[in-house]
Symmetry: C2
Subunit: 232 residues, 2 copies
DNA sequence: CGCTCGTTTGAGGATGGTCAAGGCTGGTGG
DNA sequence: CCACCAGCCTTGACCATCCTCAAACGAGCG
């Protein structure tokens, strides 16, 4: 549901088959693009709520999250906000096929990003086929996640939405105890709900013994099956 | 809002700048990918409601719509359906970075498609940089449209959703009189609403003099401003 | 310690969903 | 050519979910 684009775990390897034994547990091998950014990137810190880039601005840089969390969103005239995804450590963001960003990006909490010029990556892509392939793969992967989110937004109840969100977060953190970097408002704007409904649903899930809430930003998944049923 | 991916009008030309005078009115020049499909494609007919490919199936072919209309959708266990987009003549569909389709595709009405093997396109892409670039551009374009649809699904009222849909259809047909190939149910499943709500909203918009409905499948946009306001 | 921001909870209301029935239309066959 | 039928569309009445408005609570930080 979330827009996780960690390239190291991305199964897609278009235009070339995966040869040899795969060791899915060992995730040292990154995508070529991920490696390139790791090598060439400049580390930049962003404070909580600081803008990384704005909707409509020229897409000059590509970013890789080192630490923290980033939200990608769009705002309507009257202030309604739709968050399209959260980017966590390892994720790459800011890739655009067009010369302008179609969304805004902000740090959810204090975050560190590796920053590389888009033109540098493009120059590399022109020579290294794998880099170009990675760019496409990442865009395709984002497409897949946004399409899943669409089903959530179009066809699921508040209960199901929150369950889907928690399951995805659990999956991404590879842990049943989830530390949420984002506020209830962020979650609401991601799931197409209000803060109140998100909060109430958390409480309900706790009462149903599906989750525990030691503190508001920490969720322990107790009954994954229950959540999965809700995920439909 | 809709997933129009007619390559001829796509503004994005990543990895190379657009040189010389642009003649936006003359749209003969297609994308390289579009040309390739036009040259190599086999014409295949699909009857109304016939499946073109199914969710999870190997992605063997790439398609270009000659006539008719295609819907891309996903179905949840309990039958809830979310339509992700409609493809109209000129649009290319079926491109996947992974080896399997993530959605199902069906003909909304009797349609003709040009069909090319994915492997053929990929072989071409390995040699012709522009083809690879087109593949990426199309994926990015789909991403953009789905992201817009997300805002609609997550943050807009029924009124606004239908208005957005009609404006997009008007834009795509370059005409204020829209012939809808899809049913109210299709529209509902696209906008995350029920048939009844879609129908009621059409009637309301007619009463507000925003549109005319000579017959149920033909919409004449009367007051575009009114619709645009609703589009938020 | 107190303030502020975020979260929770409550009460009431509106939007859109559900269930049900009637009407239109285009296609088919007599 | 007309009549009927089936599928689609519209409309109505009622209801559930989620939103809105409001207030209190709690946790982190100066």
């Amino acid at each position: 549901m979330l827009t996780q684009i960690e390239t190291g775990t991305f199964p897609a390897r278009p235009l070339k088959s995966i040869v040899g034994r795969n060791t899915p547990s060992a995730e040292k091998k990154q995508s070529n693009l991920g490696e390139a950014i790791a090598l060439m990137g400049a580390a930049v810190d962003y404070d909580r709520n600081n803008e990384i880039y704005g909707d409509g601005e020229p897409s000059e840089y590509i970013y890789k999250v080192v630490s923290g969390a980033i939200r990608i969103y769009k705002i309507l005239d009257d202030g309604r906000r739709q968050i399209n995804g959260f980017y966590l450590p390892g994720d790459i963001l800011g890739i655009e096929a067009t010369d302008n960003h179609h969304f805004s990006a902000e740090a959810v909490v204090k975050s560190q990003l590796l920053v590389v010029k888009r033109s540098t990556i493009f120059a590399l892509a022109a020579r290294q086929h794998e880099i170009a392939s990675d760019l496409w793969s990442l865009t395709a992967r984002e497409l897949g996640h946004v399409q899943n989110l669409m089903i959530t937004l179009g066809r699921k109840s508040a209960h199901e939405r929150v369950a889907a969100f928690l399951l995805e977060m659990a999956k991404r953190s590879r842990n049943l105890t989830i530390e949420l970097p984002m506020s209830r408002q962020d979650i609401a704007d991601y799931l197409g709900l209000t803060v109140e409904t998100v909060s109430r649903t958390f409480t309900q899930l706790e009462n149903e013994r599906a989750i525990e809430l030691p503190v508001s930003r920490r969720v322990v998944v107790r009954n994954k099956n229950l959540l999965s049923q809700l995920d439909a």
